[in-house]
């Protein structure tokens, strides 16, 4: 064996790992990768303040419903109605999204006693009934009972946040916000539903449980 053979093999090995690294880590940004070029170190660039939103014709209405759908506002007032029909699929989606984003604080039933509240977060008001007088809320209380609040108010709270509650606009899409509100309305109703309002199936279930 010639003396330079091991040496050359070693060099080749070193060189080939060189190429390997190039293909493994190509000179482009992956999402959320750190940047040396931008002074704030982010390769994901923020949206500039001057950017104008253009409605997506597939999902967003363009006409007079635009403000209703995207801002929850009708004639300058919080909307009283939903911008699209609510059916079973919307409610199911609403329940799923509610359980992801709202239960940690507002609780499964909307009583304001979620897990994070039990760990010391300031308690939100329940979605139904008189709100308890206590609370260190920095935000103005407009509705004594949230059942009286129009759906547009809920939309604004989710979009912009409210006092101690942060905004959820970046995490929950516009349609999902409306679905969540529909589900909150269902929660409110369910607290005060009488037995005679239930479908037969649920009434049977109920009598079985109470027996």
């Amino acid at each position: 064996m010639r003396p330079w053979f091991p040496l050359m093999t070693a060099c080749l090995a070193v060189l080939s790992t060189g190429c390997r690294q190039d293909m493994y880590d190509q000179p482009r940004y992956e999402p959320q990768e750190a940047s040396k070029f931008f002074t704030d170190g982010k390769s994901d660039r923020p949206i500039l303040p001057s950017v104008v939103h253009r409605p997506d014709p597939k999902t967003e209405p363009r006409d007079e419903l635009y403000d209703h759908y995207n801002l929850g506002i009708v004639d300058g007032e919080p909307a009283e109605t939903f911008p699209f029909p609510i059916d079973r699929t919307v409610l199911d989606r609403g329940r799923q999204r509610y359980q992801i984003y709202c239960t940690p604080c507002h609780g499964e039933r909307g009583d304001g006693q979620g897990m994070i509240v039990k760990r010391g977060f300031s308690p939100p008001p329940p979605f139904y009934g008189e709100r308890p007088p206590t609370g260190k809320s920095p935000a103005a209380t407009i509705y004594a009972d949230l059942r009286e609040a129009p759906v547009g108010h809920f939309f604004e709270v989710i979009t912009k946040g409210h006092g101690a509650m942060y905004s959820y606009a970046s995490r929950i899409g516009v349609r999902d916000r409306w679905s969540i509100i529909a589900y909150v309305r269902a929660l409110q109703l369910s607290r005060y539903a009488t037995e005679s309002e239930l479908p037969q199936q649920d009434r049977d279930q109920l009598s079985k449980v109470s027996r």
Binding site: D25, G41, Y101, R171
Partner: protein, 219 residues
Amino acid sequence: MPQIFHPSLNTLSRLSIFGGAFAALGLLAISYMLVGSPYQTQVGIIHDQPVQFSHEHHVGGLGIDCRYCHTSVEISAVSGVPPTYTCMSCHSQIWSESPMLQPVRDSLKNDTPIAWAKVHDLPDFVYFHHGIHIQKGIGCVSCHGRIDQMPLTFKDKPLTMEWCLECHRHPEKYIRPYEEIFNMEWKPPGGDQLTLGRKLIEDNHIPVDRLTNCSVCHR
């Protein structure tokens, strides 16, 4: 003609031939083991993170859904690490004095990102998409292990090509109903994964014969 080699060298030459062959094989075996070893694939290795974030506390203890933080996982290619704002939606009040969370508060105040160390990192020549896997019924736990029991995040699976292909050849061994994707403890009803898996492959229209094409992952 005098004999150049002494007969005793016969054994030596045989030995060296066999020895060489064995050495070569051994080297191959060692390098194969190295490539698959935790040292190379980084399985189970805990990285230094700027904040000691614990999935065990937040997911296992508090029951927060993955999507509260990893918002885009169902629809987009990347799942993404949550922005500081998400942490602060709770930590504005919870442990708001704790020195452990100082980097998080600084990050929000100065609008500078927290530099989380990447735990999973496929090579740039591999294409991966979270959305399709979630929509077609692969649970987080199949690829990330028991995240809800990890005090600090580590890689549970090697993410080698061999590993991806194992499932792309036989997805019926892993696939689950859509409602159970985020459930870390799900077991197939009656323990019969294969029957359920085959049915879900039908229902979700998964083209199993196409899933091992090179161009699925290298495009």
